[in-house]
């Protein structure tokens, strides 16, 4: 099968390769381990290479990350089927009132987070369900805006907003709850 020529390789080098670090970070936080992330990125790069002619210009990073995201989900579906199932209803569920009253008793969060160790943040991240972790990583680690996240994760912008808010809330709660 002769799918490529020098031009495809040039385009791949221009469109996909510059985003390798972003691609790795997204896969890393979706799959959980560095080794799995590298496998996912390598597979995604093959998908990207074969589809390079489908790249119509525009935001190459969003294009690359879309492929990495979809590859990560295929990988998760195969290797961690339970991780991609979301048991909570994200959009319609009103805020958990019990959580809120708990929050009032807490020590100021800022003071706790200032002291929190990298390891605790990693642990707290790992407990987030994948759909929450995904929007948080796309926002904080990949630096994307809501519209780009909505595009990549195939979600309405409103859902991106509520998942991001819930993800941060969960992290703050986990960190404040876990501190002495």
């Amino acid at each position: 099968m002769n799918v490529g020529d020098a031009t495809d390789q040039d385009r791949f080098a221009e469109v996909f390769l510059p985003h390798l670090v972003d691609a790795f970070r997204l896969a890393r936080w979706l799959a959980g381990s560095r080794a799995d992330a590298e496998d996912i990125v390598q597979e995604a790069s093959l998908r990207a290479f074969k589809g390079i002619r489908g790249f119509g210009g525009g935001d190459s990073r969003a294009w690359a990350l879309t492929i990495v995201r979809n590859t990560s989900y295929s990988w998760l579906a195969k290797n961690r089927p339970s991780a991609v199932v979301l048991t909570e209803d994200l959009n319609q569920t009103a805020h958990d009132r019990v959580d809120q009253s708990d929050a009032m008793e807490r020590t100021p969060e800022a003071a706790l987070i200032a002291k929190v160790e990298a390891e605790e943040i990693r642990k707290a991240m790992a407990t987030l369900p994948v759909p929450f972790r995904e929007v948080l990583v796309l926002r904080e680690i990949n630096g994307l805006d809501y519209r780009a996240i909505a595009e990549i994760a195939e979600l309405p912008i409103g859902t991106v907003m509520s998942r991001l808010a819930r993800a941060r809330r969960k992290l703050l709660d986990a960190i404040s709850g876990g501190a002495p």
Partner: protein, 253 residues
């Protein structure tokens, strides 16, 4: 502090630079008058700074790039991994869907501002000097903006990370003065323009090419940043990451 669901979404959107200028101004007024809300956003900023400094450091092994480029060397198809065929079957759908939506959404209002920022960058390259105040000292550059702008821009120096500050100028973007810092990377210059909330309606975190220059933009705490350069995409990316880490650090202190 108990936030209503609406306030929580508002706070998140503000933190992410996703509020329109009017909403952002209103939210800032509330932050100034509601200490509890200000304390809450402080926690979110610390969380962001912690996430970025701890989690964003991860880089793939140097081997990954080599593995990818060698696996895609089509002159030696036998070296292609076995999962190739499987991946190919997923491919058409994934890529087609992705590229179609991206194509439709490509141009948008923020692009006009990006065009102006790129024009200012090009003009600066043609002018006798790319800066109005040539200085690598942020103690010189920062006060130079006093009286020229209605806001105080952040002026970090990344000399030790390979992006020394060269100086600054004032660009006019959307008919309003904007702060532009100039950094060098080898032979390339990077113009970094800061536009505060209320001045121009732009969308955050885009990456595009305009007349051969790469443009990266992002928003944080109501300020939109544009970085323009002809440096390699990876270098501009590295620069952006440094700048974001700096603003995240600043906003928590």
């Amino acid at each position: 502090m108990t936030l209503s669901k609406d306030d929580e979404l508002l706070l998140n959107a503000y933190l992410d630079g996703e509020l329109d200028p009017l909403e952002a101004n209103r939210f800032e007024a509330r932050l100034a008058s509601e200490p509890a809300l200000a304390a809450e956003i402080e926690a979110y900023r610390l969380l962001r700074a912690a996430l970025r400094s701890d989690l964003a450091e991860d880089v793939p092994s140097p081997d990954l790039r080599r593995r990818i480029t060698s696996s895609l060397d089509l002159r030696a198809p036998s070296r292609r991994p076995a999962w190739g065929a499987l991946a190919a079957s997923f491919l058409a759908g994934v890529v087609l869907a992705g590229s179609m939506t991206l194509g439709v959404l490509h141009r948008q209002a923020g692009d006009e501002i990006a065009g102006e920022v790129v024009s200012a960058h090009i003009r600066s390259l043609m002018a006798p000097a790319p800066t109005d105040v040539p200085s690598s000292d942020h103690h010189t550059v920062k006060p130079w903006f006093n009286g020229k702008l209605a806001f105080a821009p952040v002026v970090p120096d990344f000399g030790s990370q390979g992006f020394p500050l060269v100086g600054a100028r004032v660009d006019v973007v959307g008919l309003e003065p904007a702060a532009t810092l100039v950094y060098s990377r080898g032979k390339h210059l990077i113009s970094l323009t800061e536009i505060p909330a209320g001045q121009a309606s732009v969308t955050a975190a885009r990456s595009y090419e305009e007349r051969g220059f790469l443009v990266r933009s992002w928003s944080e705490d109501g300020v939109t940043y544009f970085a323009v350069s002809d440096a390699a995409a990876e270098e501009l990316e590295a620069f952006m990451k440094l700048f974001q880490a700096e603003t995240a650090r600043k906003s928590q202190s």
